[in-house]
Symmetry: C2
Subunit: 653 residues, 2 copies
Amino acid sequence: MTSPTRLASLACGCLRPPGLGKVRMGGFWADRIEATRARTVPILHRRCEEAGMFDQIDPHRPVPEQRIPFSTAFGGSAVRPVGGNVTAQMYWDSDVAKVIEASAACLAGKRDPELEAMVDRIVDMYADLQAEDGYVNSWFQRMQPGKRWLNLRDCHELYCAGHMIEAAVAYFEATGKRKFLDVVRRYADHIIERFGPEPRRPGYCGHEEIELALVKLARVTGDRRYLDQARYFIDQRGQKPRFFEVEARERNEPPEAFAHRAPDYNQSHVPVREQTKVVGHAVRAMYLYSAMADLVTEFGDDGLRRTLETLWEDLTSKRLYVTGGLGPSPDNEGFTRDYDLPNESAYAETCAAVGLVFWASRMLGVSPDARYADIMEQALYNGALSGMSLDGSRFFYENPLESQGDRHRWEWHRCPCCPPNLARLVASIGSFHYGVGDDALAVHLYAENDAELSVAGRTVRVSQRTSYPWDGAVRIRLGLDEPSAFTLLLRIPGWCERPTLRIAGEAVDLSAVTRDGYAWVRREWRDGDTVELDLPMDVQRLYAHPDVRADRGRVALRRGPVLYCAEAVDQTAPVHRMSLPKTGTLSARFRADLLGGVAVVSGPAETASAAGWEGRLYRREPAAAEPATLTAIPYFAWDNRAPGEMSVWLHEA
Amino acid sequence: MTSPTRLASLACGCLRPPGLGKVRMGGFWADRIEATRARTVPILHRRCEEAGMFDQIDPHRPVPEQRIPFSTAFGGSAVRPVGGNVTAQMYWDSDVAKVIEASAACLAGKRDPELEAMVDRIVDMYADLQAEDGYVNSWFQRMQPGKRWLNLRDCHELYCAGHMIEAAVAYFEATGKRKFLDVVRRYADHIIERFGPEPRRPGYCGHEEIELALVKLARVTGDRRYLDQARYFIDQRGQKPRFFEVEARERNEPPEAFAHRAPDYNQSHVPVREQTKVVGHAVRAMYLYSAMADLVTEFGDDGLRRTLETLWEDLTSKRLYVTGGLGPSPDNEGFTRDYDLPNESAYAETCAAVGLVFWASRMLGVSPDARYADIMEQALYNGALSGMSLDGSRFFYENPLESQGDRHRWEWHRCPCCPPNLARLVASIGSFHYGVGDDALAVHLYAENDAELSVAGRTVRVSQRTSYPWDGAVRIRLGLDEPSAFTLLLRIPGWCERPTLRIAGEAVDLSAVTRDGYAWVRREWRDGDTVELDLPMDVQRLYAHPDVRADRGRVALRRGPVLYCAEAVDQTAPVHRMSLPKTGTLSARFRADLLGGVAVVSGPAETASAAGWEGRLYRREPAAAEPATLTAIPYFAWDNRAPGEMSVWLHEA
């Protein structure tokens, strides 16, 4: 048996995701990535063009109209958008940036000169647009000239800057091309010159994003000033006097006229370190917490770490859907009250689940703890992945856990933030599977892939062979040019009840080596060493806390990391009439013919009979139960076939 | 045993409610009426003044501003209105008219010179406002002069006329004063001159109301022209070309720019006689159907009667809350899809339930059928009565069947239609208890009261002694100056399983005399004859049709006509955690000390324990059940004490 070893060198900041292109995904994720590359990314470029985003950016084109009928923009009925008009948006730079970032992730996995040329053209536009002083924002330069930096609360200016920085970093990583990176660096320098302690001006953005982007810029350039600037924005947030109120008064607006009313909408109600509840707009919150986690990693900031642990506990114990979706309310696109998790009206924006994956991933940089990896996996395979159709062509902005059959994926949206956000996550998903440190290699997620990673100064080739998430048998082979001592950290998923591990053919006592949900295996690894991790996947029933009103008397089904739902097309009775007996056996079967290949869960159920109810709406006897069969599919794959009802939480009889 | 007799003369139109002041209520309703008289009606007058309604009507005052901050209008924090401003509304005449009608009903029950003087002052304003040609509408005469009759679809012009007519008829009935009746007659004549077949102009109102009002005007004046005009408006509705589309084009507006989108919003999508589904705005629908029922009564119109039966069936078998509330959606204040009856988000406007009482009452004029009386009673005691606090001072506009504790009665509302609507119903509730015909007397509702009715040309004094709705023992004594032969129709409520009847001490075989839910007892009645009707009230469990998603696995409790709910203040555990065992015994007890005296239902329940859930949101075992006691109060009486959760539909374990 291998004995547990605590890596002395495993301190804050030592586990980082590998860069773009280091992990080549196969199996499950290869399909998702290929759909993203072949369908989603071209669609994204086309929609940006059709909506007029490039007209807004390109200084050589005429300044566009602000309102374009959707039918004109998208050539009529071929596209089914939400809403009646495209309205030029102040945050379009961020959408274009996410499209670049998604494109970059695809390019890192597979060269594509045509796609690269499309990105280069956008980069050229931005380079041409950039002002002498470094400022670059198509809305304020082209649509609203002269209004720069007057309203950080509402105008997404630093938010757009952040996404452009992320995009430029990704494009540099993927292609080695520096032009866009140079543009955003000049812009970041301009921002640093402007915002900061006296004699600079105070400020931070109404939509967090610049903070995490500056950390990325610091890491890729090695320039600490960007890190310090991120810390400034975070530490300044919520200090008194509240910047957004000062700024509103300077605009001669009453601060209380804020459309979103309370300052907790953008997490500026109290200083960040004093926050104890996840509040407000969910995407904003996730991006803020992601940046905070980065700062913990970079600065070893224990105070901020404690804050994040409190916020994590609050989210995961009171405010998170079982899908990993978050932010139940359309009113603030965000959080409401503890245990307020309605199913049919769930907002649960795709971007918020994507943001949670980002935050969780960064918490793993702080500390390898399966609490974070479990939630990352839960959000990834369910509430995030549900945002895109299997073929990559249609999208959910909201991710309800129940539908009467009237909710369908759309081809485009007035606020098109989600498709490129999910696309960049999917295309770069390999990076989320591993964490590499000076003396350690962590496997956070399991999936078929081949990675080439740098650990302890040496290259380690990792081959994962598995049918995950449909089967829990994982075979890892390490490829090393020479023997190398380091700690291999293997996540033991919280959902798995009887995991077993063999290293180089030898059984490992997991209870002895597991700490915070990771098995720590330190040894001198040799080329060809194998890891056999078996994670049996039972179909599990999940129940919600009794204060979750919407889920009283209901059960959800999970197998491995995948959450299931009943969709009308698979059932012999209406979904809302079905219930599961408390004791019925549920079994899973992989069906290669269905939904691109998924494990289906089925078992005996009951359906409430409508017999005897003719012409009656209420009566003194409940409906009789008739036998039925439940067939449940992965939640992420719903609404890819005939439209109909769907429910994650099933009645239990 | 008395044998069943079908009244030969009981044809369409023969059963009409007695006029105002004929029935003096005691017991349960005396309390409600007194609250209305002493609290609600004075509040209504005060709010009309404070909101500026009288400023708008009175031609001797300056034309008011259109927007008045609520805090100014209502003297600050003493009133807790919904919304930030009073905005002068085109439908204010209707609100003032309903206040007059409620006042009239109170005056019919109890003289009150001060109240009468207040009404007289308003009547004087309207008389002074009335134009030479008879037109009278304060919005279009004072706020929007020159814009009469340009937009019947949206501007409530005929709707306001209808409410003024109803008010004038009621005030005439209550006081004998003709001044207001003369005003509205001249206005009705003006309307008749304008709207009708060629050479008059086509038209009907976007909010039905004028139709039923014209029937009332015809009945009180004996002038058939008003009846014919009502029939014109009803038969014209939905004919092609659609009037609202023609009218919109005349205003140079695209007809499809209708804010409420579809013509079924106001039931003008197809001709009224072809309608088969209750659709659109619920109050509009109820007022339309009420007028249609009046026409069946007045014209013996069998086609219209069949339409109404279809619509009734549709409403009561697919689209009605168990409270008798209706119209689930705030979007159209109306109907959506079959079985779409969400509880927490239920709109179920007070006015809609009041309108259903009106419609049901008129269906009883068409035919004495307990189907109609049962629904009338259900809506009255539950979904309508819930709209007013026990003391008559606070109101619900929406009547959800479930609350997390955040829904409370308000003191005033931007759209103040509901309080005077319910007030006029409560103050005139005696009229709804009886139907009188040439040769018959029907008792539709049971309650402590003394009535003086005219049947078969003779005065019949009816004394009901009962503690209804808390007890089902009803003792009726007939007072006659001389013996008189007529049929007494006694409703046997659908909720009652073992009714018994004794007439003048002799047992009656109800199965032999009951038809359509009414016991028909024809005999020569003598002074002092007694009717002993016993309607045992069990606590009953009700279940909803299996297609009502919101009520799956849930049960509602009813006792007699009263529907129950669990309110937080009475429970030892949070309402949402409670469940009723399927087989537990529930008992009722009258508590004079509670909520002005109500029967309380209680019994063993379970509560889901939060033990073991610390820090967890989902787990593999359901929450353990702990014993608890359920205490349920009448739904209509909720939110009269400490704020908290409420639920009508309780989980069944």
